[in-house]
């Protein structure tokens, strides 16, 4: 579905992603794990076109998308949940979700999806008239994920959904991610520092170090890999 070929990107003089190749298949949960500054978020931002691709190619179903603008990429069904949530603080929960469906015109379907999202996160339904900025961290993350779902993506890019959340809430969010993947057949590309949790729900994983992929394999094989255990799982 999504294929990166030797992608390089960065900011100013700094090259953060130094030639990454990876592949995401339909219906999978793929996780990209790595330390701070390894280039995880930059990889995601490059896929969604917010950061420019310096060299290499990105394909979505055999179509090159690295030359397109962000809005074009979103139109093709890739939706990102940016790191640090980035909800609209002065819009209500409902309005935030409406913004997610910005590119769509099928009113009936949007209404259904709204109900579905509210059923995934009942707490959001309770707070639908509350400003996004007044939600707690976990609720904001739920809102960010829900908003991305409202865009009806084929591929959901999640950037550190566990950042700054309590373990119990992290667990809840990961369960929902798994559920979204199963129920809606949404392919998920998950970037995480919390390697343990991410690998628990993922099908395959990539480990990124200093802008390069070092280890790759099925989630189980990564969980049992000695190097990964030492560096990222703290075992």
């Amino acid at each position: 579905m999504l294929k990166l070929e030797n992608v390089q990107s960065g900011y100013g003089n700094i090259l953060a992603v130094k030639g990454i190749s990876l592949e995401v298949n339909q219906g999978e949960i793929i996780t990209l794990i790595g330390a701070n500054g390894a280039g995880k978020s930059t990889t995601l931002l490059t896929i969604s076109g917010i950061v420019g691709c310096r060299s290499g190619r990105i394909f979505l179903y055999d179509e090159e998308i690295h030359t397109l603008g962000t809005d074009e990429i979103v139109k093709r069904g890739i939706c990102q949940v940016p790191e640090g949530r980035h909800i609209f603080p002065e819009l209500t929960v409902q309005e935030n979700l409406d913004m997610g469906a910005f590119m769509r015109n099928d009113t009936q379907q949007i209404k259904q999806d709204l109900d579905y999202v509210y059923s995934l996160f009942p707490i959001l339904s309770e707070r639908r008239n509350q400003d996004g900025g007044t939600l707690s961290g976990g609720e904001q993350q739920m809102l960010a994920v829900s908003r991305a779902l409202m865009a009806k993506p084929q591929l959901l890019l999640l950037d550190e959904p566990s950042m700054g959340l309590a373990p119990l809430i992290i667990k809840q969010i990961f369960e929902i991610i798994k559920k979204i993947n199963l129920e809606n057949n949404v392919t998920i590309f998950l970037v995480e520092q919390n390697a343990n949790q991410a690998l628990q729900i993922a099908d395959r994983g990539y480990v990124i170090e200093n802008g390069k992929i070092t280890i790759t394999g099925s989630a189980d094989s990564l969980l049992s890999n000695k190097d990964v255990q030492k560096a990222y799982l703290g075992l």
Partner: protein
């Protein structure tokens, strides 16, 4: 309330004021007689006055803080107070009555009051439209534009020069002025809209000055600092009008235009584009992730804002019949921006009221003669201290809590 601490503070304030105003209020040098007068009584007045004022000021401030401290019932009271106008407008029965009576007042205004009053009112209406135009850029899209007056100037000079060189009339120049200003908006927007916040403000400020300086120095094109004079007033089916009738006619024209603008901006706010602007103001990255074309959305905001400014510019040139670069200094931009901020960013009613206050207040404060601007400044400062969200906050900010979820809000 009247603790020793408070009295001590006010005392300090009054001493400081006495010190500051000492050279102005107390010493008077008579250069002819070569004597120095010491007006000690003035010092006492200043001391007592500033002492009392500082007391009142601090009392009000404290009351305001107390209000915002206990969020429960007081907040609700405050909310109903704030949305009094919104509530009135939400109910269609009241809305028709309010709007109808406002329209009636506006319609008979020039026949009841003098030409002077009508002229001031026309100016105020012009600033209403300017404020609403800038409100698109600043209030909705969140792009701080300090050079808004440049587009106003483009509109005014379009009409003035089109008449001067080609003899084109008001009605032809009106759309051209608007479109040209919008074009300038895009022209400025393309290189500049990558910038954000403070940087954008500075660049737009520079652009405003560039337009003014070009008009000031390009003599053979714009007649330089002496300006363009003898611009005809707006025509109506070629009828010859006396000065008074022409002014009243301009007033009605402006009124019509204000109504049109309010209608248009109101619809715009609720549209898809309006939502995109609000999202852009809130968070750019999230906005992009939602698939909104950032560049295009910003450009549309910029050029639409400029369009209104251009049209008001044409009307301004026609109303005053004379324009010069001096009419388009930075202070104009600052006033228009103050209208938006003072009225309440993103709120149409707020901007309208803000425009009336900021334009009419200095006129009616003329009774205070030389202290006019002092009083004006003091009123502005007080307004911002006590109502930072603007006179009428944007309706988006008023949301309702359900009572049972009140406690869980974190």
């Amino acid at each position: 309330m009247f603790t020793l601490q408070e009295i001590k503070r006010s005392l300090l304030v009054s001493i400081w004021f006495v010190f500051l105003t000492f050279p102005l209020m107390v010493i008077r040098v008579d250069s002819i007689e070569k004597t120095v007068q010491w007006r000690w009584m003035n010092m006492v007045y200043v001391a007592i006055g500033s002492f009392l004022l500082s007391f009142v000021f601090r009392y009000m401030l404290q009351r305001k803080e107390m209000k915002s401290d206990d969020n429960g019932d007081d907040d609700k009271k405050d909310k109903t107070g704030r949305s009094f106008i919104h509530q009135g407008l939400a109910d269609p029965r009241y809305r028709n009555i309010i709007l109808g009576s406002l329209l009636a007042v506006a319609l008979i205004f020039p026949h009841v009051f003098s030409t002077y009053q009508t002229s001031i009112m026309t100016t105020a209406l012009m600033y209403v439209v300017l404020g609403l135009g800038l409100n698109i850029v600043v209030g909705l899209a969140g792009l701080l534009d300090l050079g808004y007056v440049a587009f106003y100037a483009v509109g005014a000079y379009t009409y003035a020069l089109l008449y001067h060189f080609f003899g084109l009339g008001f009605w032809v120049a009106l759309p051209i002025g608007g479109l040209l200003a919008a074009a300038f908006g895009i022209l400025l927007g393309i290189p500049v809209l990558r910038l954000r916040g403070d940087y954008l403000a500075i660049v737009t400020l520079g652009f405003g000055e560039i337009i003014r300086l070009v008009m000031e120095n390009w003599g053979e094109f714009s007649q330089g600092p002496s300006g363009v004079s003898n611009i005809p007033r707006p025509s109506f089916l070629g009828i010859d009008m006396s000065l008074d009738t022409a002014l009243i006619y301009t007033y009605y024209l402006m009124l019509l235009f204000v109504i049109f603008t309010i209608f248009f901006v109101n619809r715009l706010q609720d549209s898809r584009l309006g939502r995109a602007w609000i999202a852009l103001r809130e968070d750019e990255i999230a906005c992009q992730a939602m698939g909104i074309d950032k560049m295009k959305t910003k450009l549309v905001a910029f050029s639409l804002g400029a369009f209104w400014a251009g049209i008001v510019g044409v009307i301004f040139a026609a109303k005053t019949t004379f324009i010069s670069p001096r009419s388009f200094t930075f202070i104009e931009s600052a006033i228009i921006l103050s209208i938006v901020v003072l009225g309440g960013m993103g709120s149409i009613i707020g901007v309208i009221i803000g425009a009336f206050i900021l334009i009419l207040l200095p006129e009616y404060l003329r009774a205070l003669s030389e202290y006019r601007m002092l009083a004006f400044g003091a009123i502005l400062v007080c307004m911002m201290v006590f109502r930072p969200q603007g006179i009428i906050g944007s309706i988006r900010r008023t949301y309702t809590y359900k009572k049972q979820t009140d406690g869980e809000v974190s």
